[in-house]
């Protein structure tokens, strides 16, 4: 039996092992990885800072693989065919694969090792950066390439004033030319980042506490920064190969042949550590192809790696940047619009017949359709092609054109999968061909190919309903449907899933009212709505009582404190001006709520796709600038719309004057007081993609304001997609804000009276669902950890103490699934 040993567990190693298993590899696989966790999606690393967990990013490990983590390999004995790790462990191999990736290059500037200096490569790096950002106000990224800008965006996301220092005269010098770089710089600066191009670093200086305090440029100018991130390129990790006498390139990289084999026939090298055909590839697509070639060779095949496309398309800080093919050529055609922030350039052969490459900044429309045409005859004039994919010309791709560069899938392969497997959606294409599963930038192309193959692209919510949420809403409304069973029997197939059931539950709740745990509806709710609480990572739940407008009496504060103390709950002030109590087991929820309801609290619906909070600032009652009673209005609105079920959560805020201390413009509907009344803003949110709310109507009386909000919310509930916040809904409304104004202010569809009546029904029918639950023994029966041992708490739930409060002890995931 072949003993395969892999050094390094990054994306390339993951793909190698997965391919081997898919091909039926019968030997043993042992992986020694230096990081403390199994391979994860490094391309998506930055999403770790915006809410993805390490587990979300982690790739699955096939059954049978032995993973030794935290094991840095320090030596290879090629004679004895063993590798040795830093902890002394020795592992024998028949076949060895080096997949050690690369390490960030840190230029030798004085001060580079001060506390507060980081690189940006691993989850541990990000944890360290996030921790350092906590007490910091500004940061600087050294390097203005692809990764540098991504790191800068991350620092900005952590709330730091962020600077980017780039040696070259323009940003992203490897992907775009000077013209593209200047447009890119405009975009980045407009986002509030300070860009210093053509600038070196003289030194990094510490403050009195010994940590980084500032960066000094060669001209003596200083940039204040408590966090410094180096992103000045990467170097292949070839030190192991070097030390064991394997040839490496002049500028690094383990030399391999076209089968990814090193000079030692028992040793392969793949991914960012390998020098293949004189090139080190720093993109995951080519690394995956190398992994597949090596896997084929290990299984006795004869696959070859013949180089790869280095095209890139990304959305960096909201700006599309793409480049493909050669970045120079005999002739070029350029389109530049500094006002609109768009730059596009195509390189063509000197007879203007062959496409050589291109650069796009601000609008990557042409990328998808043109990249596969590199090296081919131009299908239209270069000027026309500049507008391809943006509503201009439509370019037909030849079958052998590569559509997904990450996974090397051609248009022909996709069309064949569509035809032979009868695919009707992108999910199906992803599953069958793997196209679109890595960086996602080819997904728009996949949709186009589906449409062009005559497949009707489905707007279906899921496999059970061929309708969108808005269509289902109308079906339920017009036909007066009262249950999921009736709806699926008459208009769907199967028995539903986690996508359609909660969506239908929400529609039924919006239209019919009643308790969400009544009858069959209880089974439709996801766990949060089912237990009227938010599930936590260890299976406990959180409790959030409503605190309308953020106003609370000392008595009520004391009750919350007492309940938290008596049940030992972790207590935290939320971002929504209320208090969250964490760590309750299901069987504790009714007891906790009994205490809260008795003290006059009600559900805060923190668990529901429903109105969350209406935040307020202190307003004219106390604030010397306030012009209206913002607290009073916030409370009135929160009480009016509490319990309203909607396609996604709804948030609001009211500010007492234009200083806007309640942050109303980051809400789904936000109200700002004026001397004459209220300005209403709609379609804002924070979250993953922040958007400011836009002014819908100005200087409204309180009555008119409420009438328009009633209509706005009901129109949204009626027509939005599942899990679509108001921001995305308005962006997708044909006609946008103007159309919305016509419908809900000018009543162009004649539905305003109906929308208002629907809201009146909601307001009149409201009751507190937690009170109704604790008063109903039938509903209470579900609040147990074990039906056959109702008094027994779940033994897997355990806590430790941090800063005087509880914190979950996490259940370890076994890693070696051997």
């Amino acid at each position: 039996m072949t003993r395969l040993v892999v050094v390094g567990h990054g994306p390339t190693a993951y793909r190698l092992i997965e391919t081997l298993y898919a091909k039926g590899f019968g030997g043993s696989v042992t992986v020694l990885g230096e990081e403390p966790r199994p391979a994860y999606d490094r391309v998506a690393l930055t999403s770790y800072l915006s809410g993805k967990s390490a587990e979300d990013l982690t790739y699955p490990v096939p059954e049978g693989v032995v993973l030794r983590l935290g094991a840095k390999v320090t030596g290879i004995d090629r004679e004895a065919r063993t590798v040795t790790a830093a902890d002394g462990h020795t592992e024998p191999y028949d076949v060895l694969v080096l997949a050690t990736g690369s390490s960030p290059f840190v230029p030798p500037v004085p001060g580079k090792d001060l506390p507060g200096c980081f690189v940006y490569r691993t989850i541990d790096d990000l944890d360290a950066i996030a921790a350092a950002a906590e007490g910091a106000s500004s940061g600087v990224v050294i390097g203005g390439g692809l990764l540098g800008l991504e790191a800068a965006d991350a620092l900005r996301g952590l709330g730091l004033v962020t600077h980017v220092v780039e040696m070259s005269p323009w940003l992203m010098p490897r992907q775009v030319d000077e013209g593209g770089g200047s447009i890119l710089k405009n975009h980045i600066e407009a986002l509030g980042l300070a860009v210093h191009t053509g600038a070196g670093v003289k030194s990094i200086e510490p403050g009195e506490d010994g940590r980084v305090a500032r960066l000094v440029k060669p001209d003596g100018a200083e940039i204040e920064a408590q966090v410094v991130v180096f992103s000045a390129g990467v170097r292949p990790r070839d030190e192991l190969a070097r030390a064991s006498g394997l040839p490496v390139g002049e500028r690094g990289g383990i030399v391999v042949d076209e089968g990814m084999r090193t000079a030692d026939p028992a040793i392969y090298a793949v991914g960012e550590c390998a020098l293949a055909g004189g090139m080190v590839y720093g993109l995951v697509g080519p690394c995956f192809t190398q992994a597949e070639v090596a896997a084929d060779r290990i299984m006795g095949g004869d696959a070859v790696f013949t180089g790869a496309d280095m095209s890139t398309k990304l959305k960096l800080l909201g700006v599309e940047v793409a480049s493909f093919g050669a970045l120079d050529g005999a002739l070029d055609v350029t389109f530049m619009d500094p006002v609109g922030g768009v730059y596009k350039k195509l390189f063509v052969s000197d007879d203007a017949r062959t496409l050589l490459g291109g650069i796009c900044v601000g609008d990557a429309g042409p990328y998808n359709s043109l990249r596969p045409l590199v090296g081919r005859e131009l299908p239209a004039s270069p000027t026309e092609l500049l507008f391809a994919g943006t509503g201009g010309v439509d370019v037909d791709l030849p079958d052998d054109a590569q559509v997904c560069s990450c996974n090397n899938v051609t248009k022909g392969q996709i069309c064949e999968a569509i035809a032979s497997e009868g695919l009707t959606d992108v999910a199906g294409i992803k599953k069958c061909t793997r196209a679109g599963t890595t960086c996602g930038s080819c997904v728009p192309m996949l949709k186009q190919i589906l449409v062009k193959s005559g497949v009707e692209v489905s707007k279906a919510m899921c496999e059970h309903f061929a309708y969108s949420r808005a269509e289902l809403f109308d079906i339920v409304r017009v036909r007066g449907i009262g249950t999921f069973s009736q709806l699926i029997a008459e208009h769907g197939t199967g028995r539903g899933c986690d996508v359609c059931k909660p969506a239908v539950a929400s529609i039924l709740a919006s239209l019919n009212g009643g308790h969400i745990l009544d009858g069959e509806q209880a089974a439709l709710q996801d766990t949060n709505d089912h237990f009227l609480a938010n599930i936590q990572k260890n299976g406990t739940y959180s409790v959030v009582p409503r605190v309308p407008g953020g106003e609370i009496t000392p008595e009520k504060l004391i009750v919350i404190g007492e309940v938290a103390r008596d049940f030992g709950l972790y207590t935290k002030i939320t971002g929504g001006q209320r208090i969250d109590l964490f760590g309750a087991r299901v069987e504790q929820l009714p007891q906790i709520w009994k205490r809260l309801v008795d003290a006059g609290f009600e559900s805060g619906h923190a668990y529901g796709k429903a109105l969350r909070t209406v935040k307020s600032c202190v307003g004219s009652t106390w604030c010397r600038y306030g012009v209206q009673d913002s607290v009073g209005l916030a409370i009135a609105l929160e009480l009016r719309y509490r319990g309203l079920r909607s396609p996604h959560k709804l948030k609001s805020a009211v500010s007492g004057c234009a200083r806007e201390c309640a942050e109303a413009r980051s809400k789904d509907f936000g109200i700002i007081a004026t001397e004459q009344g209220w300005n209403l803003y709609v379609g804002g949110n924070g979250g993953f993609k922040p958007r400011h709310a836009e002014l819908l109507a100005a200087d409204l009386s309180t009555d008119d304001l409420i009438k328009i909000i009633d209509r706005f919310l009901m129109f949204y509930i009626r027509t939005a997609d599942r899990l679509q916040r108001t921001a995305a809904w308005i962006e997708n409304l044909e006609g946008g804000l103007d159309y919305l104004r016509q419908v809900i202010i000018d009543d162009s569809l004649g539905i305003c009276a109906e929308l208002e009546a629907q809201m009146e029904r909601h307001v009149a029918g409201y009751f507190d669902e937690w009170r109704a639950t604790i008063e109903d023994p039938e509903k209470l029966r579900r609040f147990v950890s074990f039906v056959n041992a109702p008094g027994t708490p779940d033994p897997s739930i355990a806590f430790e103490t941090e800063r005087d409060q509880i914190k979950p002890v996490l259940i370890p995931l076994e890693v070696a699934r051997s």
């Binding site: 587990e55 979300d56 699955p60 490990v61 096939p62 059954e63 496999e463 059970h464 069973s485 199967g494 028995r495 539903g496 899933c497 986690d498 359609c500 059931k501 909660p502 069959e520 209880a522 089974a523 439709l524 996801d526 766990t527 089912h530 237990f531 599930i535 990572k537 260890n538 299976g539 029966r781 579900r782 950890s785 074990f786 039906v787 056959n788 041992a789 027994t792 779940d794 033994p795 897997s796 996490l810 259940i811 370890p812 995931l813």
Partner: protein, 119 residues
């Protein structure tokens, strides 16, 4: 005082009564504790019963009994309430990642009482 420890009988068929059939809500799960093991039991729309390990292998939390029950391509499944991966109620296999699965247990109804076997 001394306590006699009795070794649990090694039988292939040890059925444990866990709850009344009517305790289970159609298309919803509940968790039962059998000899220290957490088992998620489900009652399908058509009345069929299923039993799986309660532990969600992706998050490590014991929560599968609290997921939404439905079908995928006709196969009865439960979606983990943590991160939504679907598990077949028939085989315990994760339908989104066949390299992962959860244990399945035998389950039956005798005189209106649901019984689970962990043998």
């Amino acid at each position: 005082m001394s306590v006699e420890l009795q070794a649990s009988p090694v039988s292939t068929d040890r059925w444990h009564p866990v709850c009344a059939y009517s305790d289970l809500i159609p298309e919803r799960g509940a968790c039962v504790l059998v000899e220290g093991r957490q088992i998620a039991v489900f009652r399908g729309f058509d009345g069929a019963l299923y039993a799986l390990g309660n532990r969600d292998p992706f998050s490590g939390a014991y929560v599968l009994s609290r997921g939404i029950v439905g079908t995928r391509a006709g196969e009865p499944m439960v979606a983990s309430p943590m991160h939504k991966q679907a598990f077949s109620l028939l085989t315990g296999e994760c339908l989104d990642d066949p390299s992962v699965s959860v244990p399945t247990y035998r389950i039956r109804v005798t005189d209106g009482v649901v019984e689970v076997s962990i043998a």
